[in-house]
Symmetry: C2
Subunit: 212 residues, 2 copies
């Protein structure tokens, strides 16, 4: 990795897209790909791809392109996907259940290691191979199973408390789906997903069209 270069957040967010598409391309038996062709597949300009990748090193061969297998390995390592992060899901409602069963996560190298809920009807059930534990044991289980990342899918009013407890139990990353702002210490990485944004923005643009 280079020293002085500042890597933009936008670049980091495109890497998973590159990674996913390159794996599809590899499945198709392609061994070498140009930024031009990759860009076409992803819907990003070739310049963007070259610039993004160049901020981490020289992965391509001039006049040739990128070796697919090699580039997948490199991007995977940049993203830290080889580290086998242990993940916990808190809240087995519809969304928590869907995320627990989302195949893409395991294929990216994330390991579902714990699932929590307060509902006695859910505790003890098996979700995607993991037994649901009562929320009361969150601290104990998270420490025992060395949970790195917590996925919060509880109602908004409980989200902050869960985040606090996760952090206190050693979690260093939080992926929040509760529709509320939560606060964590600066050393903890927080990503909040807001599912109402996508649909609302579609509504916005459709309204404009209709006005014309």
């Amino acid at each position: 990795m280079k020293d002085q270069i500042v890597i933009s957040k936008a670049t980091i967010d495109r890497l998973p897209l590159y990674f996913r598409t390159l794996r599809q391309i590899q499945q198709e038996g392609v061994e070498i790909i140009s930024s031009e062709e990759l860009g076409r597949r992803i819907g990003v300009t070739p310049e963007q791809i070259r610039k993004d990748l160049a901020s981490f090193g020289e992965f391509g061969k001039k006049g040739v392109g990128y070796f697919v297998r090699e580039l997948i390995r490199n991007i995977g390592e940049i993203l830290g996907l080889h580290r086998n992060w242990n993940v916990a899901i808190i809240g087995v409602g519809h969304l928590g259940w869907a995320l627990a069963n989302y195949r893409n996560f395991s294929s990216l190298g994330f390991n579902l290691a714990a699932v929590f809920d307060v509902d006695p009807a859910r505790v003890g059930q098996i979700v995607s191979g993991v037994e649901v534990t009562h929320l009361d044991y969150l601290e104990k289980i998270c420490k025992e199973r060395n949970i790195h990342i917590g996925i919060i899918t509880v109602p908004a009013q409980f989200a902050q408390d869960i985040a606090n407890r996760l952090v206190a139990s050693g979690a260093r990353g939080i992926w929040n789906f509760a529709p509320i702002k939560i606060n964590v210490p600066p050393e903890v990485r927080l990503v909040s997903e807001d599912l109402s944004v996508g649909l609302s923005s579609i509504s916005y643009y459709l309204s404009r069209q209709a006005d014309q």
Copy 2:
């Protein structure tokens, strides 16, 4: 609305956040709020909020702040949430099922009007009050029920075909959860949600921390 001002995509994406938070604030009985206080609640600078809102009109009162009820109505209208969009979900896997049952959407004014799947075991079942129809009838049902927006939660390899069929049946917006790039005509609004981005970016930053 003003004439010359170009509204940034980033602004549009923050509006749902403002809307949601203002409704929470209204619930708490607050009638007037300053950009300062609203910013603190949302985690955005007051200048950002003022600038975002000002691109649509003068909603505040100098020296006073914003009237919560009025601002909610205004943002709702900007986002077109009063238009009662008819929404269809295609693919009742874990994620489709979760989205169908996501309460926030109906509270935003979206009306789940159709649900499709290919699995005979699912066809005929009731999901969030709507009977699952076989995918074969997509065109017929979408036209009959005047579907404005299609939510795609089918496996990647089927996503493009579903998008084509939705567009041909009159859908003007597509919300895609399949992990693949899909193409639609320019007049159709497409938003793609990529759930692997959030988790991967957490992984990236945790890896960096660990390296230090």
